[in-house]
């Protein structure tokens, strides 16, 4: 498997690795997996005044899965919730030049973003 330079860069220097307090009101958590490759990905966002101030991830999986989630956290930071919903897996594929066999890694990242946003929104609804 030949990885693109961008994948290798994210793999070797992953951005925003870590965890946020999943019980905090303003934190949304998404956790997804792909059983066939055994990958598990956790992605969290911290929202202040409708803007994503911080994003963290933790991924156990191949280089492409790590790079996809690392890139996703980079893209999420500074976006509003609305803007965050616009991130599509095809954008990740394009940015990282993922080969067809690794497209599912980007889908995983998109699913994780969607789940994290949904989790955050659910918490807000429960609060109000």
């Amino acid at each position: 498997m030949v990885y693109s330079e961008k994948v290798i860069d994210h793999y070797e220097n992953p951005r925003n690795v870590g965890s946020l307090d999943k019980d905090a009101d303003n934190v949304g958590t998404g956790i997804v997996g792909a059983p066939e490759c055994g990958d598990v990905m956790k992605l969290q966002i911290q929202v202040e005044d409708g803007v994503i101030k911080d994003a963290k991830f933790k991924t156990f999986g191949c280089g492409s899965a790590i790079a996809s989630s690392s890139l996703a956290t980079e893209w999420l930071k500074g976006r509003t919730i609305e803007e965050a919903t616009e991130i599509r897996n095809v954008d990740i594929v394009e940015e990282l030049a993922l080969p067809p066999v690794k497209i599912h890694c980007s889908v995983l990242a998109e699913d994780a973003i969607k789940q994290a946003l949904a989790d955050y929104q659910k918490k807000q609804e429960e609060k109000s």
Partner: protein, 179 residues
């Protein structure tokens, strides 16, 4: 769809004794054994070889309980599907995350005893699920493969596959270390 049970002339089911399976392979192989084709044409020999490969593949698939379960679900029209998992609960995925974290530590660490204990723990988790799958498939069969009871089977199998992949890659990585 490719049906390994049909190829080996076995009844479809999760309960499958190793001896019975082995016997079925030998029986099915008799007609295709290379010795019988020593004097046959190149074309016929190739056909026999391909058939033997197919039979061996079917045997290997059915011998592994997780693959067997996956095949049974596929044949019944409920394939697990590829890519993202929409079956597992977030709680299980969190638990899986912890298993993976520990596996990563053991992979880096240099304590064969602890590694061994950890691998055994993972194996136990897998075995527990295989046992439950056995009961589940029996119940499903009794219920005439009613679609209503398939969801827990899929969830169990999905969990077992995660655990098995984790164990496989840990063992592969650590074998490498000690070679």
């Amino acid at each position: 769809m490719h049906d390994p049970f049909l190829l080996l002339n076995l009844p479809r089911g999760f309960d499958l004794d190793d001896c019975v399976l082995r016997g079925a392979l030998i029986k099915a192989s008799l007609d295709w054994h290379p010795d019988r084709f020593a004097l046959a044409s190149e074309q016929e020999r190739q056909r026999a070889e391909a058939k033997m490969a197919e039979l061996n593949e079917a045997y290997a698939q059915l011998r592994d309980p997780l693959q067997r379960a996956e095949i049974l679900l596929s044949l019944a029209g409920f394939p697990l599907g590829e890519g993202s998992d929409h079956t597992s609960s977030p709680e299980f995925l969190m638990e899986m995350m912890e298993w993976k974290e520990k596996a990563a530590e053991h992979e880096k660490g240099d304590n064969p005893e602890q590694l061994h204990v950890f691998c055994q723990q993972l194996q136990q988790e897998i075995d527990q699920r295989v046992e439950k799958l056995r009961d589940g498939f029996r119940a499903w069969q009794k219920a005439d493969y009613c679609p209503g009871t398939v969801a827990p089977l899929r969830a169990l199998l999905t969990e077992a596959i995660y655990l098995q992949r984790t164990l496989d890659s840990l063992q592969e990585a650590t074998q490498h270390h000690h070679d």
